[in-house]
């Protein structure tokens, strides 16, 4: 049964090949069928694998397709590996992926490059599946780079606008910086442990390295670099808001549900290694905390509906990192899954809004749309409730688990928890700011458009609404994967979490929603009067620019780099050789003058030569 693991990426890959080679000749209906159908088949395969896995005793499965690379003592296989963590990931990727593909068949139907879109989407799903079912780091790296490429291609999908191309390149290059760090990590792991096979690697590491050893710290730091780049965490988070230049289903699939969570997956997958380097693990938590706060502040100030969601994605992945950092592995993965549900829902809802309002992105030009766009309203309402961790929605359970996990950490635990709670407060504000501004109040434009919706677009939304509401009751089968970590967490949970804290965690997001209501719906407070304060205004513009990271990087890296490449356009090494040329031309000019044609001059020079020779012979 588990041999069909290889079929998982095969279907999307076949879909990609078909569309790539024959996309130009197929009718649109056929393209949509192939594009979405291949993912659907893949989902069925995933189910067929998962069912026996869950009903069985949940043991890991390995299946080596063939040996990829074998040089000397280095060997890497096309090997697939299935355990609880992988099960969650493949279900999210194929399940949510299928829904988004289905949605796209409606959303993209008018685009001239319909087949290119689905070809790359399929390639993306294939790469993402390879990433999560790889049994060794090199194959994981293949998937890792593959999704990066697809992300690049899809962000720049509407390539005629140079802005989109810029955003795409920014995304690719920024994540490449992280990938490079990860590649160095791979080199280090291989040279120290002699293998890249994940399971044996983890065993070797635990055998050979002590807790807090230099190698463990170096290796985890380098892997963390890769994760931070892919998951848009501090300090490599700047690419994700710009990545919203792509079509909205892309944002839902790649930049919310799957690819950006690859970093979380990587750390969770390598968690025994991180446990060997507690300092780095703490760093993961701090990065997560800092990112979630910074992105939360920024999200409150944005106008573009997709950028708000992008910053909220960064912020939510910050929560996942926080969870990873405090050792609440399963909570993080749980949040990864619920986040995939509600964020995909939000993005697809935003897609409906945008498509209905003729590519309007500015939320302040909408308003009062709940009657006009009922399905989108419903998705936003449910998605935002889950995002803001409204009690008993999916987001509530997962975020709660992470925060409880944070409390379990000795020392800084309380501060981490507090930070997370503050973040939750802002989550409440920005998520409902979006809902209130877009769907309530006065209509500020686009009065006449009706909602663009069809079965293909509505069905995924309904399914996701259900999942976003009830996803919190799913039990993810990762206990075996994180067995010892979970045991530790449970032990701490007993005594450290009081009812008071539970209450705080429930109330704070509600407070956030309330504040948002007072500002944006009830009009008790007004943003414009707040903006009259110079401090608020400065803060607002600072937050609006994403805490100035873009400017900082431009100043620190991009400008010097551009200057450096401009300054030596002509290749300074060449001037050395040009110098030789100039020298020999000069020598030629000099010696040409000596060729005067004057016979006596020639004779004299011959005589001088003879005299020199003779005197050399005679006097020396």
């Amino acid at each position: 049964m588990f041999e069909s693991l290889g079929l998982l990426p095969t279907f999307p890959l076949l879909g990609f090949l078909t569309l790539f080679l024959a996309g130009g000749f197929l009718p649109r209906r056929m393209i949509g069928l192939i594009g979405a159908g291949s993912i659907g088949l893949s989902f069925l395969v995933a189910l067929s694998i998962v069912m026996p896995f869950l009903s069985g005793d949940s043991e890991e499965v390995r299946h080596v397709v063939y040996t990829w690379l074998s040089v000397g003592n280095f060997e890497s296989t096309f090997g697939l590996y299935l355990d609880g963590l992988t099960v969650v990931m493949i279900l999210v990727i194929t399940g949510v992926g299928f829904l988004i593909h289905l949605y796209s068949t409606g959303f993209m139907i008018d685009d001239p490059s319909f087949s290119r879109f689905f070809a790359i989407m399929n390639l993306f799903v294939a790469s993402m599946l390879i990433l999560v079912i790889a049994d060794n780091l090199l194959l994981l790296y293949l998937g890792w780079e593959g999704v990066g490429l697809c992300s690049y291609l899809l962000i720049g999908f509407w390539y005629t606008d140079p802005e989109n191309g810029y955003a795409a390149r920014k995304a690719f290059v920024t994540t490449r910086v992280g990938d490079t760090s990860m590649a160095i990590g791979l080199f280090l792991l291989f040279t120290q442990l002699g293998t890249l096979d994940i399971q044996s690697l983890l065993v070797f590491a635990q055998d050979r390295w002590d807790i807090g050893s230099g190698f463990a710290i170096a290796a985890t730091l380098l892997l963390l670099g890769g994760a931070v780049g892919k998951s848009a965490q501090l300090p490599l988070q700047t690419w994700l808001p710009d990545a919203m230049a792509g079509p909205t289903p892309i944002s839902a699939l790649i930049h919310a549900a799957t690819m950006v969570t690859a970093g979380v997956y990587l750390i969770a997958r390598m968690h025994p290694l991180f446990e060997l380097a507690p300092n780095v693990q703490l760093l993961v938590a701090l990065i997560g905390l800092a990112t979630l706060l910074i992105a939360g502040f920024t999200a409150m100030t944005q106008h573009d509906i997709k950028r708000i969601l992008a910053y909220s994605t960064i912020s939510q992945i910050g929560y996942m990192f926080l969870g990873l950092g405090v050792g609440a592995w399963s909570a993080s993965i749980f949040h990864l899954m619920t986040h995939a549900f509600f964020k995909a829902l939000l993005f697809l809802g935003a897609g409906t809004v945008i498509l209905s309002l003729h590519h309007e992105h500015d939320i302040f030009k909408m308003g009062g749309k709940w009657r006009q766009l009922p399905v989108a309203f419903a998705s936003f309402m449910i998605g935002s409730l889950a995002l803001a961790a409204f009690p008993f929605t999916s987001g509530y359970f997962s975020k709660d688990e992470i925060l409880i996990g944070a409390l379990a950490v000795e020392g800084v635990g309380l501060w981490l928890w507090l930070g997370g709670v503050v973040g939750a407060f802002f989550t409440g504000i920005y998520s409902f700011r979006l809902v209130f501004v877009v769907f309530f109040g006065e209509s500020r434009g686009h009065h006449d458009e009706g909602e663009v919706t069809g079965l293909a677009m509505a069905l995924p939304l309904f399914v996701l609404m259900v999942l976003a509401l009830l996803g919190g009751f799913i039990h993810i089968p990762v206990d075996n994967v994180f067995s010892h970590g979970a045991a530790l967490g449970a032990a701490h949970e007993e005594h450290s979490v009081s009812t008071f804290m539970h209450a705080v965690m429930i109330v704070v997001p509600l407070l956030g929603i309330g504040v948002s209501y007072l500002f944006y719906c009830a009009g008790v407070f007004s943003v414009s009067s707040l903006m009259k304060l110079p401090l608020a205004k400065t803060l607002h513009s600072f937050w609006y620019s994403g805490w100035g990271f873009d400017c900082l990087y431009k100043l620190l890296f991009i400008s010097p780099f551009l200057w450096l490449s401009k300054v030596n356009r002509r290749d300074v090494v060449d001037t050395f050789y040009a110098g030789i040329v100039v020298l020999s031309v000069f020598g030629n000019a000099v010696s040409v003058r000596s060729q005067s044609g004057l016979l006596r001059w020639y004779i004299l020079s011959i005589v001088i030569g003879i005299v020199l020779l003779v005197s050399l012979g005679a006097f020396l």
């Binding site: 004299l604 005197s615 012979g617 005679a618």
Partner: protein, 159 residues
């Protein structure tokens, strides 16, 4: 015989000096003939009568006469003498003389101190070698002369 050697040598040196100092071509030629004849005497004093004769006949006789004919043909008259004087200001002598002196002193310092027992090496020995081991060189010399003859004819031909 040593008297002959020194006398011939002195005459040769003095007349050669006049050759290079003269402004009149014909006078210079006469001095050159004198110089060559003096060298012939030196040859004779060194016990080489055959080459002494050849020097007198071929060099001083034939070749110099050839020179004379050409000079006459060119008809370089009084104007040329004036020109020669103008071409030879004292400063042009400086560098060549210095160079020649350096060369001479260089050569001098490398001479072995030795003496020559003058014995006559006559026609017999020379011709014996000439038609023995050196016969190929003689043939080559004849080729050279033939080539010289042809090219001289060709070059001097008026077009």
């Amino acid at each position: 015989m040593s008297f002959l050697f020194y006398a011939g040598g002195a005459v040769a040196l003095i007349s050669t000096l006049f050759v290079i100092l003269q402004t009149n071509v014909v006078h210079a030629l006469i001095y050159l003939v004198l110089s060559l004849l003096a060298v012939a005497v030196v040859f004779f004093s060194l016990g080489a009568p055959f080459v002494a004769l050849l020097e007198a006949i071929v060099y001083a006789g034939a070749i110099m006469v050839l020179f004379l004919f050409v000079v006459m043909m060119l008809n370089l008259g009084q104007t040329t003498r004036e020109q020669e004087k103008a071409w030879l200001p004292p400063r042009v002598w400086l560098i060549p003389v210095v160079l020649a002196t350096v060369l001479l002193s260089g050569l001098l310092s490398s001479f072995p101190a030795n003496s020559i027992e003058v014995t006559e090496v006559g026609v017999m020995e020379v011709s014996g070698l000439l038609f023995g081991p050196y016969v190929l060189a003689v043939e080559l010399a004849s080729f050279l002369l033939l080539a010289g003859l042809i090219s001289a004819y060709h070059l001097a031909k008026s077009r």
